[in-house]
Symmetry: C2
């Protein structure tokens, strides 16, 4: 693909000192914790936003907070850029390195340090995968709520960096709502603890600020998260509609009625076909749009809530309502949804947008999205967290055709502008990264960006942490 997004030019002084830097890092890290051979660096060139790639200077894989601090202290002293990396599943290019950067990978810090049922918390190292937390407490009847589709691979550190969400965040909130504390290595290697097992914290909410700051304010090495008791039961129910507009309007009315199911997922016809072909989830193929609504609680509670939702769906001419009959069927329904990105990747290249809109704008934005993609002569599959207004249009294109790729990127940008103009925002859970960086000016005035950059400077005055991301490259001296 032609590169529409630029990176900061690598610093010549850093590149010139490459072998010296590698030798210095070798003093701080065990041999198996430092990667510098070009062939071995290749897996770190990009992340799940594969349109862009850069070879890093080296990859550090520290095993402890002390080692992270040592690497940061060294890089800070010499002004060497540092790009933190969890599992490399970022969809916005948050973990894509640059030629003069040390990638700081947290994958070796993968231990669960403490599970405290009395306080309903788990404390884990940053490289622990999202799913691993839930697996560790499942037998005791608990789980960790945010559930990105990549939860098998993605790490809690990456989740904190991007304030990740997931299908079940409608009821339980996203990462920031489930995060109680972190251990944070500051740019100069100082280690601070934010939050903890008690409600709130005196002084400013630096914990909330760090969550979603895309690795630019420090390196999270440990996190304390909230555990939630598993409900008595849970039931995904399929609601099929003739049109996307009907389904969108139904979601808006459910939310406007104050009903909060665990999840309301949306799939349009294209997405249904793709996912069904891959997962054989049993989705109806004779509908134009599908909602997966999950309710939970006792049988009576689920029946109660479902009844209210069915009543609303009827006013939008729902065509099919199908409750699943078994745990196996429920698992299949979710497997179909969660494999949407992978299944789409089998039939075409795609880029996935992540705009968020007020619920009242859902139908309008769906309709306009189709118009935009049609205008570029491309196809789109919509599969997203509808209850949160968190759109995920997957724009299908052929990556081997530069013209097609440029059109896809242009269509994606048009869709994100549409979301912002509808009162929404550029990203619900994937982060700004490098993907949406140059659109930040569409969302924010200079004064807004300047204030964010001042805050950034209060943590990283040398601008070494993940430097090409989040803020447009020009005008950075505003801070």
């Amino acid at each position: 693909m032609a590169e529409a997004i630029s990176f900061l030019a690598p610093r010549a002084d850093v590149l010139a000192r490459r072998s010296e830097i590698v030798a210095d890092l070798a003093d701080l890290l065990a041999p198996e914790c430092l990667i510098h051979e070009p062939r071995e660096l290749m897996p770190f060139e990009t992340d799940a936003f594969v349109s862009y790639r850069r070879m890093p200077l080296a990859v550090a894989l520290p095993r402890s907070t002390a080692e992270v601090a040592a690497v940061m202290k060294y890089c800070h002293r010499y002004g060497i850029p540092v790009v933190p990396r969890g599992a490399g599943t970022s969809l916005s290019g948050g973990a894509i390195p640059q030629e003069d950067a040390v990638v700081l990978g947290l994958s070796k810090m993968n231990r669960i340090l403490d599970v405290d049922f009395a306080n309903r918390t788990a404390t884990v190292q940053a490289g622990v995968t999202n799913l691993n937390i839930s697996e560790n407490v499942s037998a005791d009847g608990f789980f960790y709520a945010p559930d990105p589709s990549s939860q098998l691979a993605c790490t809690i550190g990456g989740n904190i960096g991007m304030n990740s969400g997931g299908a079940h965040c409608l009821k339980y909130g996203v990462t920031t709502n489930n995060l109680l504390g972190v251990k944070l290595v500051l740019t100069d290697g100082t280690v601070i603890d934010l939050g903890g097992k008690a409600l709130d914290a005196a002084g400013y909410d630096l914990l909330g600020l760090v969550c979603g700051s895309e690795g630019q304010l420090g390196i999270v090495t440990e996190a304390t998260v909230r555990l939630i008791a598993k409900p008595e039961g849970a039931r995904p129910v399929l609601f099929g509609f003739d049109t996307s507009e009907q389904a969108g309007a139904c979601v808006a009315d459910i939310i406007a009625a104050g009903i909060v199911p665990v999840a309301i997922e949306f799939m349009d016809k294209q997405a249904i076909e793709i996912c069904e072909a891959f997962a054989h989830a049993g989705y109806p193929l004779d509908v134009g749009a599908l909602l997966i609504v999950e309710v939970e609680g006792s049988e009576a509670e689920m029946d109660d809530m479902l009844k209210s939702i069915v009543d609303i769906a009827r006013t939008h001419k729902v065509k099919t309502v199908r409750e699943c009959q078994s745990a196996t069927e429920a698992a299949l329904i979710w497997k179909g949804r969660k494999s949407a990105f992978g299944a789409t990747g089998r039939i075409a290249d795609y880029i996935c947008m992540d705009g968020t809109v007020p619920l009242s704008q859902l139908s309008y934005v769906l309709q306009k999205t189709t118009e935009i993609v049609d205008h570029y002569g491309l196809r789109v599959a919509n599969v997203f967290h509808a209850g949160d207004g968190n759109m995920h249009p997957l724009i299908l294109f052929n990556a081997n055709d530069p013209e097609d790729a440029a059109k896809a990127e242009a269509a994606g940008n048009d869709i994100l502008r549409l979301c912002v103009d509808a009162g929404g925002c550029l990203t619900g859970e994937h982060g700004v990264g490098i993907e949406k960086r140059d659109l930040m000016r569409h969302q924010y005035a200079e004064v807004d960006l300047a204030q964010m950059m001042s805050v950034r400077a209060a943590f990283d005055p040398g601008w070494i942490l993940n430097p090409s991301k989040v803020f447009p490259l020009d005008g950075r001296n505003a801070a």
Copy 2:
């Protein structure tokens, strides 16, 4: 009371220019929006933390964001301290002025700007009272969740400044969990918008940072908050125990089981007697401690949850379980609880601590609190949000006896240190203000405070906003 807590020395240059400053402010504000006569300034000398008082230089009561911006621009230019004020109900002295400060009161900005049921949001000016929001949407079946005991008087702007909580925050979260956007006037008068009606926002979570920042990062003039649908039904249930330790252990076990009622409030024998004498709420007087547990939902849901809670309470030898029989009785039960502070004020002077502890430490901290207060020869009434681990010991003393007052302050500080040492924190919802400022070093290392102060400097480099609060006066140049 002898003043144990110092204020910043007033700036002589500002005091010397008093009449000039008043004249300049008179150019920016209508006559009824500027107070400068000493007699009229008196109501602004202190807030609900009445142990300390200072006469401000003037009080500005702007009617619009533009007027707030004009005042801030002026004060910023001349380095004049500004102390923001909502209803003056702060329990930590957050709104107490100083001699060289302009009090910026938001009381005239009391309009509800927008109620949007489709997106379940309300947008209000900062001076709107907490209860006013719920009253405005109640007929449509919605409410605003955080409910401080002062909700009849306290403003949403003050709630945001202190990240206020309330009895019903166990299920619905505190202010930060219910805040979607603000209009913020920066120190230099620039106006920025943070957040909005859509999920999340691209870039850093400045909205979360501003919430709880005690008026030091800017002046909130408007807020968009989440509305929640009223439950089908709600039922407070009284659980009486022989001892505080039994009640505390019961709370910990409810939470550890993953059960989340709407509220779990705790009252010890002293608090029960005080509240019952005032409100005639029908509390049992033959118990040593009382829990008010509120469940909500359909009758079946409430019965289900109650059954689980009663089972747990039985293992802690619960003596009385009493469900209320009517809406009148329910209202009385809450009236008793919410008037606890006022009722206590009728029988003695008191200071109310606001430490928060992990749930597993509840019984231990209650026991130690009694020991501390006994040691000083004082009495304590405990009435607090137990489900959140948010302690509120009311230390009773005689304000006309300086020795008694000094003992009360010392006991309060000992209790807060106890909370921190038990893994908790200095404040759950009342804020640091001036009350807990000098204890911040017990909670935080210098590097933690330095990082917070750097963030503060990114918003207010001249340190003019609420300058005597939150951070210990010495060592401020660390930032």
